[in-house]
């Protein structure tokens, strides 16, 4: 099945945006006083954006309407902090993200510690508008700011024996309540990709979104984005990257192997054992608008289906 990514906006999504804006305007005019703070902060964001003019990558879905930034900032899973998305947003502000370095080791010619400033000084940042599909059956459209992961991997010169990439995220128990109580998962959070997935041009490391620095709850200072996989694959606040011969045991796969596979490619035909993955709620779409039909590989089939040609997707879910 081949599905194009860069296509016209479905008409119901356009309507949603209007309905959404009209509702806000209506409420604002009625209750201006109570909402002044809210609207001002939204304006402030756009004015103080860190990156004003970024190159749009050809891989960016330019025709998609980004989800309002505020929704993306207040709706994010970060289980190190809390089960609750709103609480995670508040608690994540205690993270220390500066200075930051990433250790690269394993099957590489030049292992070492790379400081974020040094990495960024060698990269041209670009904007990538991607659809982000969570395994919980909701999605959003986010303009990320970042660079291809392969660029960073090349700085350490991977060996031909590197078949997989393991990502380890930061552990800050003082800031992360669920690390102290050892709740939910084994910490730190581990994710992994096959080397061809990791070096795919769509796979990026994001340092920003909406033209601005990445908020802490959204994965600051640096996170993985793999747009054709469920969101939990896109690990946040990465501190270590290891190139390995064998596949790493990833966090959710370890915790519930029947529910979360290593590949976790978005696939409407393969339901989660407890819920359907056939449709998704697009954040920002209003009441009485239908959920959207989930696309195979989240709509990135043209670019990535080839990676899985000889694989039974039902088995390697």
């Amino acid at each position: 099945m081949i599905i194009k990514t860069t296509k016209a906006i479905p008409s119901h999504e356009i309507t949603d945006e209007h309905v959404f804006k009209a509702r806000r305007t209506l409420i604002k005019s009625l209750f201006a006083a109570t909402l002044v703070g809210n609207s001002q902060s939204l304006l402030a964001q756009t004015n103080s954006a860190r990156w004003q003019r970024l190159t749009q990558s050809d891989l960016s879905a330019k025709t998609l309407t980004p989800t309002p930034a505020q929704l993306v900032k207040e709706y994010t899973n970060y289980y190190e902090f809390s089960y609750n998305k709103e609480d995670s947003t508040k608690l994540a502000q205690a993270l220390t993200v500066d200075p930051w370095s990433i250790e690269i080791s394993g099957e590489v010619e030049q292992p070492g510690k790379f400081y974020l400033e040094d990495i960024l000084s060698k990269q041209t940042l670009e904007e990538r508008i991607y659809r982000f599909r969570c395994v919980e059956a909701w999605s959003m459209v986010v303009p990320w700011v970042g660079f291809p992961l392969v660029n960073l991997l090349n700085m350490a010169k991977p060996l031909s024996s590197a078949n997989f990439v393991k990502f380890t995220t930061t552990q800050q128990p003082d800031a992360m309540p669920n690390l102290r109580s050892e709740a939910i998962l084994q910490w730190p959070y581990i994710e992994g990709l096959r080397i061809d997935e990791a070096t795919h041009p769509l796979t990026i490391l994001a340092v920003g979104m909406y033209g601005d620095t990445l908020p802490k709850q959204n994965g600051a200072p640096l996170r993985l984005i793999v747009p054709w996989k469920y969101g939990f694959k896109s690990a946040k606040a990465i501190v270590k990257i290891e190139l390995l011969k064998k596949a790493p045991l990833t966090s959710w796969n370890r915790s519930a192997p029947d529910e979360y596979g290593f590949y976790a490619n978005v696939n409407p035909r393969i339901p989660h054992p407890r819920w359907s993955q056939n449709s998704e709620r697009l954040l920002g779409s209003g009441f009485f608008t239908s959920r959207r039909q989930t696309e195979l590989f989240n709509g990135y089939g043209d670019q990535v289906a080839g990676l899985y040609n000889d694989m039974d997707l039902r088995h390697f879910f």
Binding site: E74, Y83, P271, R274, W275, Q277, L283
Partner: protein, 216 residues
């Protein structure tokens, strides 16, 4: 001020007024929800928040309904049957809104999407079981139905226990990680059902003790 309190107390004492007051209080969760929708207070995924809010209140009223009999047994209060009926109907009311929100607000009557979603989501099956039971109990509330159904009425209305269990499964089976809240509901349900089992057990033992020796 004193006058107001006295009036309120008089109102509370009058049986009909008390019932009306409770009836009105049960609508407050709906009012709160409407206000939160109007003031855009349901967060980034308001439709999911709507589902959780309505489902929660349906389950809460189901729990309250189940709690009436144990409370009556322990406190020997009389005349709570009217309230049990009221709370049961409110559970039906919020469950119906929960279902309508799923069909209309979330899926905009796209029956294809709804069908696939139901077939592929075991947690929804438990929601459907719960709703069918609550629906049947809701429509057979009246004294007329009670008369028509005779002995079967009580048998039918015993299915409320199953509704409670299926409702809690429906809730916790869709979560990823956090089980604190559904576990609380499960615990309350366990206590309520456990109390009934205990009463039943004691009653049987007592009736056994009443049997004359020679029949043993």
């Amino acid at each position: 001020m004193m006058e107001k309190i006295t009036t309120l107390l008089t109102v509370m004492q009058s049986k009909n007024h008390r019932w009306s007051l409770v009836f009105g209080l049960c609508l407050l969760p709906l009012l709160g929800l409407v206000l939160d929708i109007l003031f855009n207070q349901l967060g980034s995924n308001p439709i999911q928040a709507l589902h959780i809010r309505l489902g929660d209140w349906s389950l809460r009223f189901l729990g309250i309904t189940l709690a009436i009999t144990p409370i009556q047994t322990i406190t020997h209060w009389r005349g709570m049957a009217d309230y049990r009926k009221l709370f049961g109907l409110y559970s039906f009311f919020y469950a119906t809104l929960h279902l309508l929100a799923y069909i209309a607000v979330d899926n905009n009557f796209m029956w294809g999407l709804i069908g696939t979603d139901i077939i592929e989501s075991p947690y929804i099956w438990f929601g459907i079981i719960t709703y069918i039971i609550v629906f049947l109990l809701g429509i057979t509330t009246s004294n007329w139905s009670k008369k028509q159904l005779g002995r079967n009425w009580k048998k039918l209305h015993r299915f409320i226990y199953l509704a409670g269990i299926a409702g809690v499964v429906h809730y916790f089976w869709q979560l990823k990680g956090n089980l604190a809240e559904p576990l609380l509901y499960a615990l309350i349900l366990f206590l309520l059902l456990g109390f009934r089992a205990l009463v039943e057990f004691t009653r049987r033992r007592l009736s056994k003790m009443m049997i004359p020796r020679r029949f043993e």
